[in-house]
């Protein structure tokens, strides 16, 4: 089950789906919960979730009538590793430690 970067990047290319990912990073959620913040209809959100699912970014369980969604780290990691393999382009220093700390403190401040 190796992440398919085509699907992963494609899934992340939509702002609705990135917001869903951001929401799921804080814990499992049902389709209703995920749909709530959006103006979109529920079936549309369902479709977005399915896109995330096919990219491996989301997995689901069954609990009563609900199908809680959970975020899967592997594809996100694969996407980060691909983009990260070009770090050298924006890092002019060879002090990898300080570079990492700088980058890390920045990502921490970033929302969506």
């Amino acid at each position: 089950m190796k992440p398919n970067l085509d699907r992963v990047f494609s899934a992340l290319a939509d702002p609705t789906r990135r917001r869903i990912v951001a929401r799921l990073a804080r814990g499992e959620a049902t389709v209703m919960e995920l749909a709530a913040p959006f103006r979109m209809t529920q079936p549309s959100v369902s479709k977005h979730i399915k896109v995330l699912e096919r990219a491996g970014l989301v997995s689901r369980s069954r609990h009563a009538q609900t199908r809680p969604c959970r975020l899967e780290p592997a594809p996100l990691r694969a996407a980060m590793e691909w983009t990260g393999s070009y770090r050298m382009l924006w890092e002019d220093s060879f002090d990898r430690l300080s570079d990492f700390l700088d980058a890390n403190s920045q990502t921490k401040k970033k929302g969506q």
Copy 2:
């Protein structure tokens, strides 16, 4: 000119474009040079380059009849920072240094 993640992720969702990015990471290249490894026609490659350009991933200069392409780091960095903001999901340790080194050695081994 802040990177538009929609466009960036969307641009990276295509394998041809990721190969172009990989090629450009090793230095500037003309359209002809970029097109060479592909079976595609030149206009198709031109379109892919334009997609990368609109995402801010590629910039171009003018030199004689050629328009050399250069890779721009900012959007790649933005994409990495977005995905990287979910690192916590696959890192169970708080030893950030060793985590970074592990991740880094892995990305180094990865091709395309």
